[in-house]
């Protein structure tokens, strides 16, 4: 597998990229100019979404590598409250300190879990961070300036959903959710001495993710090389960037595809009933994969045709679970955990939004 053939990859890589690009450009051509305009629409949407997310993924990768190198497991243990209730509440308002959107959040979270942050606290942070932060509050307030109840309902419901899912995860999920060999104690004991050997034994039979993630908790000791720390920051940031980047790119591509090839009316016709409005708005939020700072505006344009409760579901559901971040979650967490989390988010957001609609929004 690790044969000394550096040049073997390049000859395959370059033509593959070239052919892919050619296909993208040439395939729609024979069918005429209409399809070409679809290509341009796709291109503009795709690059727009990518460019918007790129700085945040970079920031997230940088933060993650800084945490990796400068925050020790002991330090993290000291920071996290022992009491689970206090831990969940703290995680809920952590977004006030780290106003990163979900793209930047996931690499950071993986690192924190590897450092020993309990899963339920990490989950609460993933869910609440993209909504309960000052930037999103401001953006939502701008969009719903005529309807400020929606802003408070959004913040409140996000808090409720994150906290209650945190509690459920605390009670029900005991195993390691990361897509790696378990971060067992045995492992962390042995890795000092047998670091190198361990590695080579692992390398061959496993796939890329497994392997890759393995490395992360394998090498804490190298934070000893203080003089090399700045180089490590580069190494880890680049690594994290490429690891997350491929999921981000895939997500951007699919989102742009949906936006440029599927008409909104055809989606809207699905969501005309009182319950299907919720289903539609949540599905729509999932497919669009908007950034939490800008989705409020899009939601606002639906005020004419949809109930406030379903809009609230859109605003809370979207940042917690969407196409782009599900792919990113799958890169970090076990599929089983992601499905469980998605199920919890769907049900709790739906229930919460219906309740908020009945008791708070429609008065």
């Amino acid at each position: 597998m690790n044969e000394p053939f550096p040049l073997r990859i390049l000859p395959i890589l370059a033509p593959a990229a070239f052919i892919l690009a050619c296909l993208t450009v040439l395939l729609p051509l024979p069918a005429g100019s209409i399809n070409l305009s679809y290509l341009y629409t796709f291109r503009t949407s795709f690059l727009g979404i990518l460019l918007e997310a790129l700085p945040f993924v970079l920031l997230g990768s940088l933060l993650s590598s800084l945490v990796h190198l400068y925050v020790s497991e002991q330090l993290l243990k000291k920071w996290i409250p022992k009491n689970p209730a206090a831990g969940i509440l703290t995680a809920c308002i952590l977004g006030l300190l780290f106003p990163v959107c979900e793209c930047g959040m996931i690499p950071l979270i993986r690192r924190l879990i590897q450092k020993g942050m309990p899963v339920y606290i990490a989950t609460v942070f993933i869910l609440s961070g993209p909504i309960i932060n000052p930037v999103v509050f401001g953006a939502t307030y701008m969009a719903f300036r005529m309807y400020p109840e929606m802003v408070y309902a959004r913040m409140g419901l996000a808090f409720f959903v994150a906290a209650s899912i945190g509690v459920m995860i605390y009670i029900t999920w005991k195993s390691d959710p990361l897509k790696t060999a378990p971060v067992s104690k045995a492992h962390s004991h042995s890795h000092h001495a047998y670091h190198e050997h361990d590695h080579h034994d692992h390398d061959d039979p496993h796939d890329h993710h497994h392997n890759h993630a393995c490395h992360h908790h394998d090498h804490h000791p190298h934070s000893n090389h203080h003089e090399k720390k700045w180089t490590s920051i580069f190494v880890h940031t680049a690594d994290e960037f490429f690891d997350m980047g491929k999921y981000l790119l895939l997500g951007c591509m699919l989102t742009a595809g949906i936006q440029s090839f599927v008409a909104k009316e055809s989606l809207e016709s699905i969501g005309s009933g009182p319950v299907s409005a919720y289903v539609f708005m949540m599905g729509f939020a999932f497919l669009l994969s908007l950034c939490s700072t800008s989705d409020a505006f899009v939601a606002q344009t639906f005020l004419h045709s949809f109930s406030s409760g379903s809009l609230l579901a859109f605003l809370v559901f979207g940042p917690m679970l969407d196409f782009k971040n599900t792919l990113m979650l799958l890169s970090v967490f076990k599929t089983k955990f992601v499905i469980y989390l998605a199920f919890l988010i769907c049900t709790v957001v739906f229930t919460g939004a219906v309740a908020a609609d009945a008791f708070f929004l429609s008065q």
Partner: protein
Amino acid sequence: MMKEGPVFRSHELIRALILLGFALYIARLSATGYLQYYVAPEMYPWLRLSVIPLVALSLNLAYRALFGTKNGMDCHCERPVAGSKLKHSAIYALFILPLLLGSLLPDKALGVTAASKKGMILGSPVLTREQLDGKFKAPDKYNVEFAELAKLLYVQEPIEVKPEIYSEIVGAIQLFKEEFKGKKIRLSGFVYRDEGMSPDHEFVLGRFLVQCCTADAYPFGVPIRLQTNHPAIRNDAWLEVEGNLITEIREGREVIAVAAERVTEIPRPDTPYIYLNSKEVEQWIQKARESSGGIGPGSAEKL
């Protein structure tokens, strides 16, 4: 350990080139001004700033690929060499695709195709249902702002719909549409037609409102009625239209429209999208108030 050296390095080199490619692409977009086709101005500083870490990472990777030693720092943790070559090729192709798309094809702003998929909104998207129904919840700051705007617009002849506050101006006119009926207006946008529209007599003069990036771009526009036997106007053309404000019933509600008197084709403006900008509105009101001396018609008193 030594035997893996070369594989390790070629990965680093490819990654260095990809990162450099992204940095150069962003720098070029920023320099040519095409960045505005993709993201809102609020994002510019973030993107420009991200060029620095991209270049730094790229240089670091390139240095290690070319001169890197196999001892010392390399903790193996960053080495992605496991996995098939096909998989790696696919992953790198995924990274190269946006660069190729970005550099080989010309930059184009969103147009009719995107508008038809996203669903054109007639009138201003900044108004809410409450405002449209005329049932104001409370005389809050923004209602007052719209009324103020309407008052200042009313004295203009013709009313110039400035791109900086396009959606707010259309919104203000829409709120006080009865008062504005028959007023002259001048506005620009791209030509959009729905399936149900008769191609010779009507079209929608549209714009995209962008909040953050193209993902949330929202098409909105004002229906235009052509009175004379006008030569055919193609979709996606950019026009400046001058005419009289009227109202029409569309999709069950009354919307503002323009009966065109003069239609001129214009080049695509430098900033094709519209952004939400409350600061611009305040500035504009300030300026207009100073120049008009604060004389307004009775329209705002209806509040």
